[in-house]
């Protein structure tokens, strides 16, 4: 199991050809208090860079961009009722999707934890 990070402040914990996807604590802190999450549905496929959801905070709406190509296999439905868990545990319970990776080569373009820490300064 390896965790990767994107410049759009998402994390992917990858096991084989599947991954759990969420936003980083840094992203959640920047967004402020989160009040709504709009998610894709199971079976939706997407390409790297696609808009795969929206997170609304008290301040503004922010898109979630896909860090890799893939297909949604599971949606964390608890976020609909409790969007605020994204502030408390964005790298734990408040994961956003489980996905099937369709181009694992793209993982090489992502950062590891040290790289991400350096990226956010």
């Amino acid at each position: 199991m390896t965790t990767y990070y994107s410049e759009e402040h998402e994390w992917l914990t990858v096991e084989g050809e599947t991954a759990v996807v969420g936003i980083t604590q840094h992203a959640a802190d920047q967004l402020g208090e989160i009040v709504f999450v709009e998610q894709k549905e199971v079976g939706d496929d997407f390409e790297k860079g696609d808009d795969i959801g929206v997170i609304e905070s008290v301040k503004a709406a922010s898109e979630i961009y896909a860090a890799v190509d893939g297909e949604v296999t599971e949606v964390n439905e608890t976020l609909e009722e409790n969007p605020g868990t994204l502030n408390d545990s964005p790298e734990g319970d408040a994961w956003i999707y489980k996905i099937k990776l369709t181009n694992t080569d793209q993982l090489e373009e992502l950062m590891d934890l040290d790289g991400y820490k350096a990226f956010i300064g």
Binding site: V35, F36, A61, P83
Partner: protein, 365 residues
Amino acid sequence: MTDAPKRTPLYDLHVELGGKMVDFAGWEMPVQYPMGIMGEHNHTRTKAGLFDVSHMGQVILRGEGAAEKLETLVPSAMTTLKEGKARYTFFTNPDGGIMDDLIVANAGDYLFLVVNASMRHQDIPHMADNLDGIEVTEIFDRALVAVQGPAAENVVGDLCPAARDMTFMQTMVADINGVECRISRLGYTGEDGFEISIPEDKAIEICRAFLAHEDCEPVGLGARDSLRLESGLCLYGNDIDNSTSPVEASLTWAMQKRRREEGGFPGADRIQRDLAEGAAKKLVGIRPTGRAPARAGVEVQDLDGNTIGSITSGGFGPTVGAPVAMGYVATKHSEPGQKINLIIRGKAQPAEIAALPFVAQNYKR
């Protein structure tokens, strides 16, 4: 705007308190403090919040017949405004649109005005050019702060006992910690509270004295916006502008009977016509049924998919616990309870026209 943003006399205090500074209308202002927008909003509704509103324009009008002359620019009654009282009004343009909204206080031998930060550059020359024989002085050496919330009376009253006896829209000059301030019992959060004009070199000292009260916390522009939105108060540039008439904006209450009948202000023709015939569109409250906030610019449709208006302000209402919005819809769709759709990111989301305010106003009458 290419100029560096300006700083208010309270800038150093904002930074010390952990304020997250942003550029707002050319001013470097705190959007929030470590407590966060939601916490600051709720604190203001339950206790008291301290807001820096020094970016707003403070103006003095001095001269014979100032109130009478000001009536040529605004549709509210100024000559009947008693000494020690303040009134909400707006400058209208020749088309009957709103150029800016403002507060006018009768300070005895002069009028004291507070105008929007983003409109100072327009309002000052507008008055200087049109108020013949009146001295228009913009004040640059005073901070303006608001203390708002149910505990505001204690926060201000502990330092200035006379403030406790004031009622909504009263204004006076009084000492706070030995400093002469102008205190007005009003604000823009829907809560009881005060706006206080303070000499700039004493502003931080007096704000520290307010913050020393256990019920008073600093509140940024983020919560100021959600508080005014829940209270159904218009934001200039969003909910009202040069194209909207006061009748469309449901601000008829601010135009006293004599002024409505006599006219004598810019755009009186259109405003009187809107009053007589009804306006084609109206500013209403909107409650999305789901959880998705609907923000400014979102299209409003009837259930048949016809465009009937758009949202001008919207977001999450912490006290309501759900998204809230304001916007204009065709008058025939403006009855509270009417079902509508909001087009959010291309999808129709159900919503309902709602009565304003969303949260009852809590003024000391």
